[in-house]
């Protein structure tokens, strides 16, 4: 078995991993980036729509353009990328990572490990929808890969289940490519995607959005032939008998959420049940001192820009640990209160470094007061919704205030006003 000793190993070559690897290299650490696919970029490669990069590059880019900016930085910094590598095992006790690739099995022995493994789409089998199991049912990301990378169209008549942004974007994409998109069903009484995607992906093409509606059965032997839709009560989400409607379609596209991917380290680090990702502190450190994490395996972010910024922070913190050893600092745990869903980081380090909280509201609010502390920051935000994270900057002064007040935990709440 080939053995490679190095400073830092980054697992996953998407937005977070590319940013972390570039930062580590800039700080003088010998770094290798491991990628499962042939090339870096992750899901950005197939997201050909625009809207990326407003925070990081101050301009609106498409996914491939955003990825390309970082690919250039990777080659400029002469970062070694080991692609088409599959990680078999992460062993934090021995500080080893075992991979398999075309040249065989390799054992990496890094001083620090950065996990940027992203998220996976929730699969059809996870929805427990009764009926047959025919061909023609795809997650939105798989359909996107077919259409945007491989030049295949998944079918003729499509229905979309779930109104997440990828589902809305695929409704438009499939329409433009000549498919007949019959509608989008969303179990919740509100859309899971951004309002602007409802406007430009559905309304522009007269694709109906059916709220409080879901697919309750799929039909067809070899290929999907039809689906049964049913309405649900908006508050208790119970199916309403008698509202069944059969829709003929040969393709069902699923946009029903992303699940952070942490199987490799889940036995060694703490995860958060709401974020469904690994818990990190304000330096992207997990609960294991050797392991850092950033991106969608920590919490599912709305914007790739945020993922890049967290990747840079993970790279910085890992570089510091490699050079100076692990630094203990007082960590204040973050506790959720009213109307707060996913939130990261979950520990605030009481050092001088500023950081950002990313907070997902659990419901629509015209106006809400985001309270951190609760008395450290109180900020009124308009138009809060579950499809959009709020980001709140924590400065050195805020940290001073936390110290002065002797807070043992930081409570985060969104109060409806």
């Amino acid at each position: 078995m080939r053995e490679i000793k190095l400073d830092a190993l980054v697992i996953g070559g998407g937005a977070a991993g590319m940013a972390a690897a570039v930062e580590l290299t800039r700080q003088g650490c010998e770094t290798i980036l491991i990628e499962r696919e042939e090339r870096t970029g992750g899901v950005l490669n197939q997201c050909i729509h625009n809207g990326f990069g407003l925070h990081v590059f101050k301009e609106e880019l498409t996914g491939p353009e955003y990825a390309d900016r970082y690919k250039h930085q990777i080659s400029q910094n002469e970062i070694t990328v080991h692609s088409e590598k599959f990680v078999l095992k992460v062993d934090p006790d021995k500080k080893e990572v075992i991979t398999v690739g075309v040249e065989g099995v390799t054992c990496y022995k890094p001083k620090a490990l950065v996990m940027t493994t992203g998220a996976r789409e929730r699969p059809f089998s996870n929805l427990r929808i009764p009926g047959t199991r025919p061909a023609g049912i795809y997650t939105a990301g798989v359909a996107q890969k077919f259409v945007n990378l491989q030049n295949y169209l998944p079918g003729k008549d499509a229905y979309v289940l779930g109104s997440g942004d990828i589902g809305l974007i695929m409704a438009r994409r499939l329409t433009l490519e000549g498919m007949n998109v019959l509608g989008v069903a969303e179990l919740m009484p509100h859309s899971g995607g951004l309002a602007r995607n409802i406007a430009q992906c559905l309304d522009d093409f007269d694709i109906p959005l059916e709220l409080s509606t879901s697919v309750v059965e799929v039909h067809g032997k070899e290929r999907l032939e039809s689906i049964t839709l049913m309405n649900f009560t908006p508050d208790t989400m119970q199916p309403i008998l008698g509202t069944e409607k059969v829709i003929k379609c040969d393709t069902l596209i699923l946009s029903v959420g992303l699940l952070p991917q942490n199987e490799l380290i889940e036995d060694y680090v703490k995860a958060d049940p709401v974020n469904k990702g690994v818990m990190v502190d304000s330096h992207q450190r997990t609960t294991h001192p050797w392991i850092f994490a950033a991106g969608n395996n920590v919490a599912v972010y709305d914007l790739v820009d945020f993922v890049t910024l967290e990747g840079i922070e993970a790279g910085k913190a890992a570089a510091q640990m490699i050079k100076e050893g692990f630094k203990e600092c007082k960590q204040i745990p973050v506790k959720r209160s009213n109307n707060v869903g996913a939130i990261t980081p979950l520990f605030c380090c009481l050092d001088d470094n500023p950081f950002k909280f990313y907070i997902r509201p659990t419901k629509n609010m015209d106006k809400g007061r985001v309270k951190i502390g609760p008395d450290i920051i109180q900020k009124v935000e308009l138009g809060l919704k579950p499809s959009e994270m709020v980001d709140i900057q924590i400065t050195r002064e805020h940290k001073e205030k936390i110290k002065e007040m002797g807070l043992e935990e930081i409570i985060v709440e969104i109060e409806e006003v």
Binding site: N45, I48, H49, N50, G51, L54, T62, P64, E65, D68, V147, N148, L149, Q150, N151, L176, E177, L194, A195, R196, I198, A199, Q200, D203, D204, D302, L303, L382, G383, E388
Partner: protein
């Protein structure tokens, strides 16, 4: 007088903007920035969209290159553009920014490649 509710697509905030249209006079409410006002006025007078899609590439590492319009084109021209793009075949290698169509529909905007495709 006509009243319309328009969701601004200029940024992820997606403001719900109410517009009162009196002939040439448009009064708006609910925008959080000047871009919202500009968007709604355009949306009423001449709705436009940036369009992204793919074109075929021969002899490359991928069969497709993604493309975009360099500015927003009239909404009514979206499908005409898609039809035009179906006829395009580029030869690898292609680079980001490579022009596929210049001055598309006399809009002053081009269609450019957004993904590099290396020659195989």
């Amino acid at each position: 007088m006509e009243k319309r509710k328009i969701t601004c697509i200029s940024c992820p905030l997606g403001c719900e903007i109410e517009a009162e249209i009196n002939g040439d006079e448009i009064n708006i409410q609910g925008n959080r920035c000047p871009r919202g006002k500009e968007y709604v006025i355009n949306e009423i007078k001449d709705p436009r969209r940036v369009v992204t899609s793919n074109v075929k590439v021969n002899g490359g590492q991928f069969p497709l290159a993604s493309v975009k319009t360099t500015g927003a084109i009239p909404k009514g021209k979206i499908f005409a553009l898609i039809e035009k793009l179906r006829e395009v075949e580029l030869e690898a290698p292609v680079n980001i920014g490579q022009v596929v169509y210049k001055n598309l529909f006399d809009t002053g905007f081009d269609v450019v490649v957004t993904r590099p495709v290396e020659k195989l």
